[in-house]
Structure formats: structure tokens, C-alpha cells
């Protein structure tokens, strides 16, 4: 349960930063926070209390594994998130360069 609370708190903080912050880089940080919150939410979805890593071995029981699918999805999400933040930062710099480096939204 605690993971869900943390996840939605991060998503909320990120959304707050995107909606109310004026500095472009703070907005980019907001995206990063939202992405982190969503990633945590996925991990929480697949989590099993007392579960083990989903690795099949001869001696291992075929139960009690954490769900590996959300973890695989998150790997994709992390890569896409990194690309988004990289592109957003470049766009912020480019947009700000015309105003002498001023990165505030007016």
C-alpha cells in the first residue's frame, strides 16, 4: 500500500510542477517526477509480499514469483522517459536562448 501512496504522491508533485512552475527546467523536472511515480506504480502492481525473483531453477518452487511483466514494461518506460526528458531539456534551452537564456514562461 505504501508504494501506491508514494507513487501517486510523486505523480501529483510532478503534475503540480508542470502546471504551476514557470521555469522551463522545473517543468522538465516535473515530467521526470511523474515518470518516476508511474514507474513505481508499475513495480507496486507486480510486487508480491515475500515473493522471489522470477528465475526458473530446478530447485525453485513455481510459485511466489513477483510478476516480471510490469518490470519489463518499466524498462521500456524508463528508456522513453529518458528520451523525453533529454528532448524537453534541449527544447527548453533552444526556446530560452532567444530570450538571452531566460528560461521562465511569460
Amino acid at each position: 500500500m505504501i508504494y501506491y501512496v508514494f507513487a501517486f504522491t510523486l505523480i501529483g508533485l510532478g503534475l503540480f510542477a508542470i502546471m504551476f512552475k514557470k521555469n522551463l527546467f522545473k517543468i522538465v523536472i516535473g515530467i521526470e517526477l511523474m515518470t518516476a511515480g508511474v514507474n513505481l506504480l508499475f513495480i507496486a502492481v507486480g510486487f508480491v509480499v515475500g515473493g522471489t525473483a522470477p528465475i526458473f531453477e530446478e530447485s525453485a518452487k513455481f510459485s511466489g514469483f513477483v510478476d516480471p511483466v510490469p518490470q519489463a514494461l518499466i524498462l521500456t518506460s524508463i528508456v522513453i522517459g529518458a528520451a523525453s526528458v533529454g528532448l524537453a531539456s534541449a527544447l527548453a534551452l533552444r526556446a530560452g536562448s532567444a530570450k538571452g537564456g531566460d528560461l521562465d514562461v511569460h
Binding site: L15, M34, L41, T76, I80, S84, A88, L91, A98
Partner: protein
């Protein structure tokens, strides 16, 4: 004859990957991308033909059948949108300016790949990946037009990323409830989930999709985006909107649409129509009209008029393409003729597909089920007609120039008129049968 649609995705990706080996040479990339678009049109035409005769079919990737593996779910509507997107890319490459870099064309390839993938994928996480491919390439291409383009691109990216986060929350909720990422499997499994979970998942996916589908609350990037996008991207933006709408149609089929969706439709129609009326910029006003159109398409889904939904969606896409490909250019009669024909199709002039869609919507249950919404839709159609007529009259000028862009615009509009005429000659019953199958 059937060609596996994965060839289209594989070859487009290979061309994008090849860009670095070709040192991003603009001429090489432009030629390669034109050939790729032509090949993709052929591939998706065979898919469309198969979907027409056999109904929606599944294509597995890597031999892993869904729901274990990722699969494509090829419907007539999805194949048609993928085909039209690639045909539009070909038209754009053959008709618009040639002073772009190789990187620009690479990004356009990825955009078209993303939009085609969104239309055809059968997996709702894979849909997110395709949506992000389209969104990131859109933002990067938009930034090609200097500082103002970069500002518009930043704004677009913010809305797209908020949407992506909501979308992923929806994916997490539905995966936890149904244990699958496949649309068809989800439709079977989600029935056992609680109403609250289904409503939460549907809401999150809907909000997540609203940036691409040009619906409120995340469509506020539209005016600036349409105003600042490079001409090539501008002409292709309506296809992203269509791909977004295909997801909402799938959600409607799985979950049904709750009453709050009609509030979104009303708000989007009214906001788009009023802002288009007030706008003094052609590109911006078409962007606002596109939002109003998105609201009307949503109304068709709410009423359950599938045939009208398909007709209005296809009209919006091709009609806007016909007008947007002529967005920049001098005042001459050729341009006016292209805009006029696009306008008539978009407004729903008799014998056009737009007319068929609007009649299908009004008599398909809208008047009986949602009388107040009928008035809103009719007012929006009237505003659309006045705004577009105003633009056409302002572009009318002496001297006739029929360049390649005018030809592409006329062909696009004529397709709408021919399709509409055929359907009207066949009669309303056949219209519903044929267009209903598109879904």
C-alpha cells in the same frame, strides 16, 4: 495477395536506422523515404483488402501469439488510416519544399511509423510505445522552425508527456485487474473487474489519449502547434489525431462511454468552434476546427453510430489534409479551388463523405438520444462553414496556378466526394453496412 504489415514497420525502421550510415544526406533520405512510403501504401492496401473480406484479423510478431506476445489487430479502419498516413507522407515528400536536412526526414519516418503503429497494434502497452514514438518525433520536427517552433514543441511535449503518464496509470490499473495487455483479451477478462477499477482505467486511458486525439483537457497545444509546425508535419498532424481516435473507439467498444465523456465532447466542440471563429491565423483556425471536429467524432461514438463515426473521422482527416497542405503559399485561383473543395468536403456538402457522416449521425440516434447535443453539433457545423468560407474568400486571387500541392489537395478532397457519392447512390442501408464494417 497479402503482405505482412510487419514488413512496413521493419523497412521504415531500417530506413530511419540507415540515416546515420547515409550521413543524413537529405537527398538520399528523401528518396528512400518516398520509396518506403510507396511500399507501405501497397502493404496496407493488401491488409485493407483482407480486412474487408475476412473482418478484423490478428498478426503475430515473432511467432508468439497474443496475449503472451505482442500482436497487430488489423481492422478496416486501422488499415485505412495506416494506408492514408503513408499516402499523405508520399504526397508531402513529392510536393513540399526540398530544403530540409536528412535528420528531418528521419524524424518524419518515425512519426509515420508511430501513427501507423497506433492504428494497428493489438496491445495497449505497445500503443503507448507507438504514441511516444509519434510524440517525440512530432516535437523534434516542430522545433525545426526556429525558436518559436521550439516553444510550440516544448508546449506540445508537456501535454503529450502528461498524457503519457496518465495513459500508463491506466495501463497499470487495467493490467492489475485483467492480467493482460492485449485489447481483445482485455475485453474478455475485464468483465470480472469492479466497476470502479474499470472506470478508473478508462478515465486514465482517455485523459492520456486526449493530447493526441485533440480533445480537452490536453489539446491546448493545438493552436500553437498548428501555427508553428513545418509545412510537412502540419499536413500530417490530422493523421495522428485519427490514430488517437481509434484508441477511443476501441475503449468505447470494451468499456462503453460514460456520461462524463459527453461533457468533454461539448467542451471541445464549443471551445474549438468559438476559438476558430475568433482566430486571425489560417493554420491556427484549422487547428481549432480540428478540435471541434474531434468533439463531433466523439459524439458519434457516444451515440453508437459507428458508420457516422468512420465517415466523419475520415472526412476530418482528408479534408484537413487538403487544406493544410495549402496552408502556406501565394494568393491564386488554384489554391482557392483546392481550399474550396476541401472546405465543401469538411463542411459536409451533399455527395461528400462528410455529408454522409453528418446525416448518419443526425438520423442515427443523435436527435432522439441527445437533443441538446444535436443543437451544439449543428451550430459547430455552421461555424465551421462560415470560418472556412471566410478563409477561402480571403485566398481568392487572380491568376491560376496548379502546382503539385494543389493537385494533392484536390485529389484528397475528390476521394471524399467519390466515396460519399458512391455511398449515397447505394442508399442509406448499404452505407451503414459498408461503413459499419470499417470499425
Amino acid at each position: 495477395m497479402f503482405i505482412d504489415p510487419m514488413w512496413a514497420f521493419g523497412i521504415t525502421l531500417a530506413v530511419a536506422f540507415f540515416a546515420s550510415a547515409a550521413k543524413y544526406d537529405a537527398k538520399v533520405m528523401r528518396a528512400l523515404l518516398s520509396l518506403t512510403a510507396l511500399f507501405n501504401v501497397l502493404v496496407f492496401a493488401t491488409n485493407l483488402s483482407r480486412a474487408y473480406y475476412e473482418g478484423t484479423f490478428t498478426v503475430t510478431i515473432g511467432g508468439f501469439a497474443p496475449p503472451t506476445g505482442i500482436g497487430l489487430q488489423v481492422s478496416m479502419l486501422g488499415a485505412l488510416i495506416a494506408l492514408l498516413t503513408n499516402a499523405a507522407l508520399l504526397a508531402v515528400l513529392l510536393t513540399l519544399g526540398k530544403n530540409r536536412t536528412g535528420r528531418f526526414y528521419t524524424l518524419l519516418a518515425i512519426y509515420v511509423l508511430g501513427v501507423s503503429g497506433m492504428s494497428l497494434t493489438g496491445d495497449y502497452f505497445n500503443f503507448f510505445v507507438m504514441m511516444e514514438l509519434a510524440a517525440l518525433s512530432t516535437a523534434a520536427v516542430m522545433a525545426a522552425e526556429g525558436t518559436r517552433g521550439a516553444k510550440a514543441a516544448f508546449k506540445y511535449l508537456m501535454y503529450a508527456e502528461i498524457g503519457a503518464a496518465f495513459y500508463l496509470v491506466g495501463v497499470a490499473v487495467l493490467y492489475a485487474a485483467a492480467g493482460t495487455l492485449n485489447f481483445a483479451h482485455l475485453a474478455k477478462e475485464v468483465g470480472q473487474a469492479s466497476t470502479t477499477v474499470k472506470a478508473m482505467g478508462m478515465l486514465a486511458l482517455f485523459v492520456g489519449m486526449s493530447a493526441e486525439a485533440e480533445l480537452l483537457p490536453l489539446a491546448l497545444w493545438v493552436p500553437e502547434g498548428y501555427k508553428e509546425a513545418p509545412a510537412e508535419l502540419l499536413a500530417l498532424l490530422p493523421f495522428g489525431f485519427a490514430a488517437g481516435m481509434t484508441l477511443i473507439a476501441r475503449l468505447a467498444a470494451i468499456f462503453g462511454l460514460q456520461s462524463w465523456v459527453s461533457v468533454v465532447a461539448w467542451a471541445t466542440i464549443l471551445y474549438g468552434a468559438v476559438a476558430a471563429w475568433q482566430s486571425k491565423n489560417f493554420r491556427e483556425s484549422i487547428g481549432y476546427l480540428s478540435m471541434a471536429e474531434a468533439g463531433i467524432v466523439l459524439v458519434a461514438l457516444l451515440v453508437g453510430a459507428n458508420a457516422a463515426f468512420a465517415a466523419i473521422l475520415l472526412t476530418a482527416v482528408l479534408g484537413e489534409f487538403a487544406m493544410l497542405i495549402l496552408a502556406d503559399g501565394g494568393v491564386h485561383a488554384g489554391r482557392t479551388a483546392g481550399l474550396l473543395l476541401g472546405m465543401l468536403a469538411l463542411v459536409g456538402f451533399p455527395l461528400s463523405l462528410g455529408f454522409v457522416g453528418e446525416v448518419g449521425l443526425l438520423f442515427g440516434g443523435l436527435w432522439l438520444k441527445m437533443p441538446a447535443t444535436t443543437v451544439v453539433v449543428l451550430v459547430a457545423i455552421l461555424v465551421k462553414a462560415v470560418v472556412l468560407a471566410r478563409w477561402v474568400s480571403s485566398f481568392a486571387g487572380a491568376g491560376f496556378v496548379c502546382d503539385k500541392r494543389v493537385a494533392a489537395s484536390l485529389v484528397s478532397s475528390l476521394v471524399l466526394f467519390i466515396a460519399g457519392s458512391v455511398i449515397m447512390v447505394q442508399g442509406l442501408y448499404d452505407m451503414l453496412a459498408v461503413l459499419g464494417k470499417v470499425m
